[in-house]
Amino acid sequence: MSISTGTARARQSLPVEPEAGSRRLNTAKALQEAIGSQMEQDDSVFVMGEDVAAYGGIFSSTTGLLEKFGPQRIIDTPISESAFIGLGIGAAVEGMRPIVELMFVDFFGVCMDQIYNHMAKIHYESGGNVRVPMVLMTAVGGGYSDGAQHSQTLWGTFAHLPGMKVVVPSNPYDAKGLMTAAIRSDDPVVYMFHKGVMGLAWMAKNRRSIGAVPEQDYVVPIGKAKVVREGSDVSLVTLSLSVHHSLDVAEQLAGEGISVEVLDLRSLVPLDREAVIATATKTGKVIVVDEDYQSFGLSGEIAATIAEHDPALLKHFSRVCVPDVPIPYARELEYAVLPTAARIEAAVRTAVTA
């Protein structure tokens, strides 16, 4: 167990959000690069999970790492999530920096006790004496007919429970910078990547799943949202794959003279409340676009954040989320409940005329 005495190890400081440069990677590669680079520099970092070694991660989060680092540091586990996530916690408590993959976030129910009662609470319960510098990495999201147990995002569930940071990259650049920040963080970080932003060969590709990524190491600070498109009529507050749909809609509606601002939250914990308030102040019309279940989640928190700050700010508030229904299997049904571009567009049109 590590006694808290400032940062555990001196680390060279890294550039914060440098210029993107011209090299283009998909999100999966950017993620692998962040992990690989940190592993090269720090022996205490290792990766553990189901099918992370020879398979390279079901969603390619660890492709190529076994070849580089061998089976002592890229470790396949039995299907024993409580045991191996707990193992990660114990190793972190002794000063290692585990990156543990939970294959699908939908499986949280078999191991949530380790996550929320242990990983997230030990630092507090120990009065700051014990740190848990661990990354819990997990795939989220639907859109490819994987049904009710393999298509959820569930970030609201994690963000509701205190003690863990919750990071949700939407593109390759952020994926690398946020993973680097997560590995270097002395706090436990839940890193949720949407399958649909990874740029996987075997899934419908969003054109923004490939983008410019610096070769050097850098961090995207955890807790800073980003205005990914400026606008003045309506704000789309969103994250993850929904950023791309939101940008698509914003581009399209720009032709009609509707000016849409898009805020990519990038993390739920910490939530960049200032950025939320800033965009609300600017447009007065806020639509939350969220692939998580609508009620008791992110969209409500955005409303509360604004209302608490100044209820007069809001001229319009609406939500394009998954209504409170298990994710259906059939494509027709699933796309009826996902936050599609069509639903976002309709919501923006309603907002501008409101």
């Binding site: 396949d76 039995p78 078999v110 994987d146 049904g147 059939a330 049904l333």
Partner: protein, 338 residues
């Protein structure tokens, strides 16, 4: 508390043997049709979300002996819970093929009106259910067995999962509880050597889960050889014990995943890949019956023909069925309207 390696040559009638083969052929025919339809419209490239059958697809080819051997002992009123790889068991349990195909195609005609998909099949008619969460199908079987016991019936519940699932907590909790309360449950582990890309010996600290039965005070047996008759014998004992109030049993069958973990799995991690087709249990069983003079070419042709007819009927029916109405996506969250 026993652990035996069984090589049973059970005393089966020719009719029983042919029925086992017929069941396995029906299952394989169904899965080959799903395979065909699944890949028919995913190109160019391979897009998992595309086509008439989208999503993950876990086929059970090679594991038919488990389904046929076990389900030969189960009645309609008995329960069966399965996993992400459920078709062989669903079919052997007697699920209507049209309802099954309809659900796989995501149609309104499907078992779950397209809400469930191939990992989430719930059939009140055959008391069949499954779950896409590894090992989480075990507990439901306890509850069904409990309900049967309380109702004073002699019905039993079978719970089937892979060897990977046997390292998950609910396996342990369920075996203990079933043994403690003498519930009529048959636990069946399909050891197909792999949990996705993780080999059995990289996940399991003992050579067979059969030895774990002793930790619950229940009989445990391992069936080698992926032999439908050996499964039939072991399952027969276990089912009879459960029906007679003798409590639960554990059976592990060393079986074979003939194809990938799911469709699209290149199986680069699998060294023995070249040998796999040669270990197919269905031709092997056909050979055995043919050699013993119990199976004629005509018999076989009839079985295959019947299977093809039934399967293609189910597939056609599914393709012709309407898609679910998007306006009804929220229907069925609750029984009583919110």
């Amino acid at each position: 508390m026993t652990m035996e390696t069984t090589e049973v040559t059970a005393d089966l009638s020719t009719g029983q043997r042919l029925a086992l083969l017929r069941e396995m052929i029906l299952i394989r025919t169904f899965e080959e049709a799903v395979l065909r339809e699944y890949h028919a419209d995913k190109s160019p490239g391979f897009d998992i979300g595309k086509g008439l059958i989208p999503g993950e697809m876990h086929l059970s080819a090679g594991q038919e002996p488990v389904a046929a051997g076990l389900c030969a002992h189960l009645e309609t009123g008995d329960a069966l819970t399965a996993t992400h790889r459920p078709h062989h068991l669903a079919i052997a349990k007697g699920m209507d093929l049209r309802s099954l195909a309809g659900e796989i195609f995501g149609r309104e005609s499907g078992l779950g009106h397209g809400r469930g998909g191939h990992m989430h099949l719930f059939d009140p008619a055959t008391h069949f259910s499954c779950s896409g969460i590894v090992a989480e199908g075990f507990p439901a079987a306890l509850g069904q067995a409990f309900a049967f016991q309380r109702a004073g019936t002699s019905n039993v519940a079978a719970a089937v999962a892979g060897e990977g699932a046997a390292n998950a907590g609910p396996f342990h909790e369920s075996l203990n509880l079933a043994a403690l309360w003498k519930l009529p449950v048959i636990f069946v582990i399909e050891d197909n050597d792999w949990g996705i890309s993780v080999a059995r010996n990289a996940s399991t600290s003992v050579p067979t889960n059969a030895v774990r039965a002793a930790g619950y005070g229940m009989p445990g047996v391992r069936v080698e050889g992926n032999d439908v008759e050996a499964v039939h014998a072991a399952a027969g004992e276990a089912v009879a014990r459960a029906r007679a109030g003798g409590g639960p049993s554990l059976i592990e069958v060393h079986t074979l995943r003939l194809w990938g973990h799911f469709e699209g799995d290149a199986q680069g991690y699998r060294p023995e890949l070249a040998d796999v087709p040669g270990r197919d249990p269905i031709p092997a069983y056909q050979r055995k019956l043919r050699d013993a003079g119990l199976l004629s070419e005509a018999d076989l042709a009839e079985m295959e023909g019947e299977a093809r007819t039934r399967v293609e009927d189910a597939v056609e029916h599914a393709k012709a069925a309407p898609a679910p109405n998007p306006a009804e996506a929220l229907k069925y969250v609750f029984v009583e309207g919110e």
